[in-house]
């Protein structure tokens, strides 16, 4: 992440740097810094302290120390949400490799690649809520997908995808993957564009098959981008599932498709227990940081070697 500081320019000669230019510079950055500090960093600290308190009915908060955190262990909905998060993270390799392979196929050129890329990219830009509503209808027990499955003889698979406990969360993740594949394709295609064509020529001369070229030439050359995208999607799977669950299942049936960020919203909105909601948020933050840092340390940094 510190490479981000490299976007700042290197030291410049001091041309008339006096107090007024200094004040001017600080004035220019003040709004941005103030906004972020006041509305993100301070609430983070406040959230941590609030998580140590509990609202009891109409009484104001009482200090309960780690009571909220203990409560999590017996909260079935939260536990289900955590398990579902792990299920999602287990799909992370798929969420990264599928767009990578699709991008490579398009990059090597098939008929209509521009159209396919555009369509997939557009799908990833559509509002998740609306896509969710649309698919809610399409994947219903008596919806068009099941009708289609029955028509081609796969009637055994015609279940209510989002309404069955076993399949609900996996269907949600499949939808998220389907909708977001376009973003990955666009990013990876651009990454492939930075590979010198000579490498592919050499591979062809050596008689490499398509997949050999993919695994031994293309993938290694873009591993930095792959690592970066993995971090992005990993964070999104934990923090950006809200609109999908909101529109697809509402966490149900029961808690089968509950996810942490949706559950926190529920606690905040209905149960009105800000202490507990904040504690859950802290745990979610910890989980997110863990996922991001593990990926950063073991995948991204390694991708930058050699």
């Amino acid at each position: 992440m510190f490479s981000v500081l490299r976007t700042l320019s290197p030291a410049r000669p001091r041309l008339g740097r006096d107090a007024s230019e200094l004040a001017f510079a600080l004035l220019l950055v003040a709004p941005v810094v103030a906004l972020v500090t006041v509305f993100k960093w301070v609430p983070l600290l406040t959230g941590a302290t609030v998580s140590l308190r509990k609202s009891v009915g109409t009484e104001r908060e009482a200090f309960v120390g780690l009571g909220n955190y203990e409560r999590m262990f017996t909260d079935d909905a939260w536990l289900a949400a955590l398990v579902n998060s792990l299920k999602g993270l287990s799909l992370l390799p798929l969420f990264v490799l599928v767009p990578l392979l699709l991008a490579f196929i398009l990059y090597r050129g098939i008929f209509g690649w521009r159209f396919f890329r555009s369509l997939m990219f557009l799908t990833s830009l559509l509002p998740p809520v609306m896509v969710g509503i649309m698919l809610n209808v399409i994947l219903a027990g008596d919806g068009p997908l099941n009708a289609l499955l029955q028509a081609i003889g796969l009637g055994a698979f015609a279940i209510p995808w989002l309404g069955t406990s076993g399949s609900a969360i996996w269907t949600v993740y499949a939808i998220i993957g389907w909708a977001s594949v376009g973003l990955g394709v666009v990013i990876f295609m651009a990454a492939f564009g930075t590979i010198s064509e000579e490498l592919f020529d050499a591979a062809k001369i050596d008689g490499a098959s398509f997949f050999q070229t993919f695994f031994h030439v293309a993938m290694p050359m873009v591993r930095g981008t792959v690592a970066f995208y993995g971090i992005l999607i990993g964070a999104a799977l934990l923090l950006a599932t809200f609109p999908w669950v909101y529109s697809l299942t509402g966490g149900g049936p029961g808690y089968a498709s509950m996810v942490p960020d949706f559950y926190i919203y529920r606690i905040f909105g209905r149960a009105v227990d800000p202490g507990y909601a904040s504690a859950l948020g802290i745990i979610l933050l910890g989980l997110t940081l863990a996922v991001v840092l593990v990926q950063y340390r073991f995948i991204y940094l390694r991708s930058q070697e050699g």
Partner: protein, 294 residues
């Protein structure tokens, strides 16, 4: 190096060429079929949505999958009314365009200062802003909400725009800073030699040269702000202040039987994003991929 496919005269053995190209051709065929299926899933889904929206309520109940005939726009009319249009669309436009402009105004001078000027704490402040992107909203949801309430910003237009600005700052600042840093130093030096002061540099030199990055940040911000659900859901409790995304998502409830209404609403809410996409596809792709290579 031989591949064994050439005879002594370096002429390809009959059959060698087809062995090289046959797998390629079949592979490409499979690929086209696979992508077509994927494309079909999107197109058919949207087509089904449109089809449902063009049926009257009675039509839909009778025949859910057939082509709408005759085509009626009742569902759209009802969606317009139930969706509190045009108010909700105006709200969306105000919040989204307001957010985009607000970000431009606030982040541009800051990016300029971070990349072109020197001052103590420059690296630290930059890191503080950029790193804030790691803070998940759910963690700060409650204190953030309380802060907005205490500042009197709940249910206020400027409250939501401020919120959008806060959450959009890290990425926009990063993109602007990266672009400003890449500006050719010769032009900047020349302007300085011509006597341009710091402010004039920003206004008369840097900003005019930065149209591409303004386009990209504007488009990206427009899209995520238009699509945003959670923030307006929390901040705007008064119905007449809610943007399209909130109002139209409420049309879809377990009690709602009128699928045409829901479909029409969903389509209406998607339209602006599609329009922006069609206009600015190339910019978008360039903008998203610019920062992805480390």
């Amino acid at each position: 190096m031989t591949t064994g496919r050439y005879d002594g005269a370096r002429r390809p053995i009959r059959g060698a060429r087809s062995r090289l190209t046959r797998p390629r051709r079949i592979g490409k065929l499979f690929a086209i079929i696979a992508f077509s299926l994927l494309a079909a899933s999107t197109i058919l889904s949207l087509a089904f949505l449109l089809n449902s929206a063009l049926k009257s309520r009675g039509q839909f109940l009778v025949d859910r999958f057939g082509i709408a005939s005759p085509i009626t726009f009742d569902a759209f009319v009802e969606a317009w009314q139930r969706g509190l249009m045009p108010g909700s669309m105006i709200n969306s436009l105000v919040y989204t365009i307001g957010g985009v402009i607000s970000l431009w105004i606030i982040a541009t001078p800051a990016a300029y200062a971070f990349t072109q000027l020197r001052f103590p704490g420059r690296s630290l402040f930059f890191l503080v802003v950029i790193a804030s992107v790691l803070i998940p909203f759910q963690v700060i949801m409650f204190p953030f909400f309380v802060q907005l309430r205490d500042f009197g910003l709940l249910n206020q237009v400027h409250g939501l725009i401020l919120t959008y600005t806060v959450f959009g700052v890290p990425l926009t600042l990063f993109q602007l800073a990266a672009y400003f840093r890449s500006l050719p130093k010769e032009i900047l030096e020349a302007a300085r030699i011509d006597g341009a002061g710091t402010l004039r540099m920003l206004v008369d030199v840097v900003i005019p040269m930065s149209k591409p990055v303004f386009a990209v940040t504007g488009i990206l911000n427009f899209i995520w702000m238009w699509n945003e659900l959670l923030l307006p859901l929390l901040i705007m409790s008064k119905q007449d202040r809610q943007p399209m995304m909130v109002v139209f998502s409420n049309l879809h409830s377990p009690n709602e039987v009128n699928a045409g209404l829901v479909a029409a609403g969903a389509l209406a809410a998607m339209v602006p994003v599609v329009v922006v996409f069609l206009i600015a596809q190339r910019q978008l792709i360039k903008g998203i991929t610019a920062g992805a290579f480390k």
